[in-house]
């Protein structure tokens, strides 16, 4: 009897793990493909608070367009004034074979030029904040292996707890994360809490969602805070003037158009 029980456990255990991985992947897929319109825009205010409590503010305009399985994102820096017009264009095409690679272009105002950036390194700080480029891009599901770690309540709401382990060394190199733990709101398909583990496997950053608002019928994170546990800095990202389905002209998502305030 004991032998039979052991055999059942032996056979079923990998399938339990497989089921967890599969369901976690499904949760992440739902997160990636959640219904948030075909396009969206907002103004972003980033407050960067250092360990002494001093605050520096960055203002960015953000506009995004989904076209088939591609997503085009523009981030236009409005403040600080000395780097005004700095613009980042990110293109991620989920339909292409090597879609774990995004195309990134950066417009540098003093050169008056747009330069291509290597997508192999997304661990750079976004406008000096604790957010890095990989935190802002469209989720690349294939970069991590996901395992469902159960369900937990965050701010009184039911959430899936998902562990995301970097697929390989290249992903760790690219993102600087070896592992992430995500809490995903079951109903809204939104990340409401996230812990980040560095290359050595230590918890070093935490993201907490502070405010979710229903805009044009879509649940939207309008305030979130990311804290660096090593240098005690934090960055608070607040969104205002959020709009969905704005139908921007595709011509603004070209590298030739960067450096101009994106209008639609």
């Amino acid at each position: 009897m004991k032998k039979i029980l052991n055999l059942i456990l032996l056979v079923s255990f990998p399938s339990v793990i497989f089921a967890e991985v599969t369901s976690a992947f499904k949760i992440m897929e739902n997160l990636k493909w959640r219904n948030d319109g075909q396009s969206r825009a907002s103004e972003i205010k980033l407050d960067i608070v250092d360990s002494n409590g001093n605050t520096r503010t960055r203002k960015i305009e953000y506009i995004e367009l989904d076209k088939g399985k591609s997503r085009f994102t523009i981030l236009y820096v409005d403040s600080p004034r000395d780097v005004r017009k700095t613009t980042i264009l990110i293109k991620n095409d989920s339909s292409r074979k090597n879609h774990t690679k995004s195309d990134i272009w950066l417009y540098i105002p003093i050169l008056g030029k747009t330069k291509k950036l290597s997508s192999k390194n997304k661990s750079g700080s976004f406008v000096g904040s604790n957010f890095q480029y990989s935190d802002l891009e469209w989720i690349i599901l294939e970069d991590f292996i996901y395992t469902l770690k159960g369900e937990e309540k965050v701010n009184g709401r039911s959430c899936y707890k998902v562990e995301a382990k970097a697929l390989d060394k290249n992903v760790i190199e690219k993102t600087s994360y070896s592992k992430k733990i995500l809490w995903i709101d079951k109903k809204y398909d939104l990340i409401v809490k996230e812990d980040f583990f560095n290359r050595d496997g230590f918890l070093f950053k935490q993201l907490r969602v502070n405010k979710i608002k229903k805009i044009d019928g879509i649940r939207t994170i309008v305030k979130q805070t990311i804290s660096n546990l090593i240098n005690s800095q934090k960055s608070i990202m607040s969104l205002s003037n959020v709009k969905y389905d704005i139908n921007p002209s595709p011509s603004i998502f070209r590298k030739q158009s960067l450096g101009e305030r994106p209008r639609w």
Binding site: I110, G112, K116, S125, Q256
Partner: protein, 380 residues
């Protein structure tokens, strides 16, 4: 003064319906020849959006503090633009940038440069010392990733050379400036320029082809009394692509029957310029290097550039160094810069420039090594 008042009135009238950006810089340099060169520089920009078009106007000016004759105000941009689904246009005074190279002008030759204060301004901010021209730019986006860019330039202006007040001029430059100039008429259809660019993205490569029929904005001395602006035709190509942690950029241009200065006169010949650049970024550190070859039947020139930049303290402190060296003439320069963003509205800069070599343009500055200190205020 009249221009300054007119620019101010124009901005004031449009103030209510527009976004206004302005800044004021105080620039000070202690130069090797024991002179202090100080001036104030102003920048005023208006962005105005209407239902039918966008209007963008930039007014700039500077005022010499150590020499009152060093002053000017001008419109750097006066631009009306409109974006439609596949077509966009911009009409007005504007700067048009082409190509993949930094600092070196290979295909990026549409606009003249303003080197009135000194050559280093071009390195510090190539965009702000590129002189705008009245032009029409049409951009057509065809099938995905394919674009056509047509430019018509009825305007013409020459490069500006350093002013004597700055300490960056010399007898040769002053003599050259004093020569009579044979140049095309501005806003004359017969003397207009046009340019065409085709660009696409193919297998992760950003590719572009260029053609320019216009003018060489740098005059050539043709006799003891005269200098002349010559026609310029250029065919070029550029490519950039990501390879692992690097981005590789390359561009090449063929200048057809281009006029160049010789020791006693001038000569017309074909010139090929080829550039390759490599960029590498790791978090807050970036390194960029370029090699440029200029080849013709009378010269074969090799030049390099190396730029290193690192950001600290949430990007509020930036240390950078740029070096240029010409292996053929042995001239070059190195500039180190410390930039600190004190508040969102105040920056200061500290640095030095060192020149070396005895030939070419930069050799004119060989006794002009300097220490500089700049303050920048943003007024809104």
């Amino acid at each position: 003064m009249v221009k300054l008042v007119l620019i101010s009135i124009f901005f004031y009238i449009n103030l209510k319906a527009s976004d206004i950006y302005s800044n004021l810089s105080l620039k000070n340099a202690y130069i090797d020849n024991h002179s202090l060169f100080s001036y104030a520089e102003g920048y005023l920009e208006l962005e105005h959006e209407t239902q039918y078009f966008d209007l963008n106007i930039i007014g700039r000016g500077y005022y010499g503090l150590t020499d009152k004759e060093y002053r000017d105000t001008w419109f750097e941009r006066f631009l009306i633009s409109r974006k439609l689904d596949n077509l966009s246009f911009s009409l007005g005074k504007q700067v048009l940038n082409w190509g993949e190279s930094d600092y070196f002008r290979v295909v990026n030759i549409l606009n003249p440069v303003d080197l009135r204060d000194y050559y280093l301004s071009y390195l510090n901010n190539p965009q702000s010392v590129t002189k705008s021209l009245w032009s029409l730019k049409l951009d057509y986006v065809g099938i995905e990733n394919f674009g056509v860019n047509f430019i018509f330039i009825p305007d013409f202006e020459m490069d500006n050379l350093p002013d004597v007040y700055t300490g960056f001029s010399n007898k040769n430059i002053e003599y050259f400036k004093s020569l009579d100039t044979i140049k095309p008429d501005s806003l004359n259809l017969k003397d207009s320029s046009f340019a065409l660019k085709l660009d696409t993205s193919l297998y992760d490569n950003d590719i572009a082809l260029y053609y320019y029929h216009g003018w060489n904005s740098s005059p050539i001395q043709i006799s003891k009394k005269e200098k002349k602006i010559f026609r310029r035709d250029m065919i070029g190509a550029s490519i950039s692509r990501e390879i692992n942690y690097f981005v590789i950029r390359a561009e090449s241009a063929l200048y057809l029957n281009d006029a160049i200065q010789t020791s006693n006169n001038y000569k017309k010949l074909n010139i090929v310029k080829s550039l390759i650049g490599i960029d590498w970024v790791n978090q807050d550190l970036s390194i960029s290097t370029q090699y440029l070859n200029t080849h013709s039947e009378v010269e074969n020139m090799h030049e390099i550039s190396l730029y290193i930049e690192e950001k600290f303290y949430n990007n509020n402190l930036v240390l950078s160094n740029i070096s240029l060296h010409n292996f053929t003439t042995g001239v070059g320069l190195d500039e180190f810069k410390f930039k600190y963003r004190y508040t969102e509205n105040i920056n200061f800069y500290l640095g030095y420039d060192v020149f070396w070599g005895d030939e070419g343009v930069l050799s004119n500055y060989s006794s002009q090594n300097r220490l500089f200190f700049n303050l920048e205020f943003f007024i809104n």
